[in-house]
């Protein structure tokens, strides 16, 4: 089984039915996915842990450029010169063999941008789930809404206010505040895209773009959504925008300067210093640019992502 929309298609001659979305597009600051997002990316997709014996391995892409049960796995060798000491995965060469009938959690979501901005969690209880009892969870990666999230050792560059944040999610029910992508020093400094009362909100240094009436920014609890938050300070008005499934839903004037302080990027939580506000549901893809994409560039990426995820 392959993740995303092409389940059942199987391995095809053309390795990419839908090409990686970032080919030919502006370089991103960081990007995470369950498919190859750049054709030239040569690394793996994930670092995972199975719960039966807590062995950790890296997971690559299958021949179609996706994470699937056919994905190759490799011993974790990042911290050792002796690969054979990194754990015994029983000679299994694919994710299917490694996972068997156990649960598999994601330890690290590997950055495909080439900038080494991996996101991770070193606490077992906080690692999102990829596989449950040997089968992929619905809408992976699944964040449990209680304590699952990723942190990082990277922060956005305060000297560059431009940004575009894209995410593919399927939010489960719940009306509390749930962080999706954030890099915040405190509630009024930094950037965050999150759910508030089941509505999208994009906050940039306390400039809050949201609308909890009328339903235009209401989040689906039944379908995957593509959400894009962007800040384009070079524009003369409506610099701050929110788009869902390829359509502009909210915009407003904003003249803020990004100030993330010393805090790091987080995925699945609003503020890295609190155990509150974790995402509840699936997060499948996250792409972050510290750039303002042109309309044509953004349209291309949005169409690619929606085609791939059947949005």
């Amino acid at each position: 089984m392959r993740l995303g929309t092409q389940q059942g298609v199987g391995v095809v001659t053309n390795p990419y039915v839908i090409p990686p979305p970032l080919d030919g597009q502006p370089s991103c600051w960081a990007c995470f996915g369950l498919r190859k997002l750049r054709r030239t990316y040569t690394g793996n997709a994930l670092w995972v842990r199975r719960t039966s014996d807590n062995v950790e391995v890296e997971v690559g892409f299958d021949s179609s450029g996706e994470v699937s049960m056919d994905s190759p796995i490799a011993d974790v060798t990042e911290f050792t010169t002796s690969p054979s000491s990194s754990g015994d995965h029983g000679g299994t060469a694919t994710l299917a063999g490694f996972s068997s009938s156990t649960d598999v959690h994601v330890v690290k979501w590997l950055d495909q941008s080439g900038n080494d901005r991996d996101v991770y969690n070193t606490t077992g209880a906080q690692q999102p789930k990829l596989i449950s009892s040997g089968s992929f969870v619905t809408d992976p990666l699944n964040f449990d809404g209680t304590d699952d999230w990723f942190t990082s050792a990277s922060r956005l560059d305060n000297s560059n206010d431009r940004q575009t944040v894209l995410a593919v999610v399927k939010k489960d029910t719940g009306t509390g505040s749930m962080g999706l992508v954030s890099c915040m020093d405190n509630w009024n400094d930094g950037s965050e895209l999150n759910a508030y009362l089941n509505y999208w909100i994009y906050r940039l240094n306390g400039s809050d773009l949201y609308n909890t009436s009328g339903g235009v920014a209401q989040i689906s609890n039944t379908s995957k959504e593509l959400v894009v938050a962007s800040y384009t300070p070079a524009e003369s008005s409506n610099e701050q925008k929110l788009r869902v499934n390829g359509s502009l839903i909210l915009q407003q004037n904003c003249t803020e300067n990004l100030d993330v302080g010393s805090k790091f990027l987080a995925i699945g939580k609003r503020l890295s210093t609190s155990t509150l506000y974790e995402w509840n549901g699936g997060i499948s893809e996250v792409i972050i640019w510290q750039e303002a994409l042109t309309s044509a560039q953004l349209s291309y990426v949005e169409k690619n992502v929606m085609d791939h995820h059947n949005i």
């Binding site: 807590n54 990194s86 077992g124 503020l271």
Partner: protein
């Protein structure tokens, strides 16, 4: 329903979470492994607030003494309001 265990120091909950991970593994943590702790932990903003270990299972690995002093969700929520940043 999670259970909550209070520690007097900022790093008390984190250190106990790491001990419990080793106890679960029943072996030392592999030098290659990235996972180093079992449960979530929440330090307070100030030293005097201590920290909390958040137990999201039945807590079998806890000592009997620890099981006797587990706090409720309500107690933990009140501690969070007083000791961690919030913004609804």
């Amino acid at each position: 329903m999670s259970l909550f265990l209070k520690f007097d120091t900022l790093d008390g909950a984190e250190n106990r979470s790491k001990e419990l991970w080793v106890a679960l593994l029943e072996r030392p943590v592999s030098p290659d492994a990235f996972t180093t702790s079992l449960y979530s932990f929440q330090p307070a903003s100030e030293e005097s607030g201590g920290s909390y270990l958040i137990i999201d299972d039945d807590g079998d690995l806890l000592s009997e003494e620890e099981k006797l002093r587990l706090d409720s969700q309500e107690t933990y929520d009140a501690w969070c309001i007083a000791n961690t940043p919030r913004d609804d």
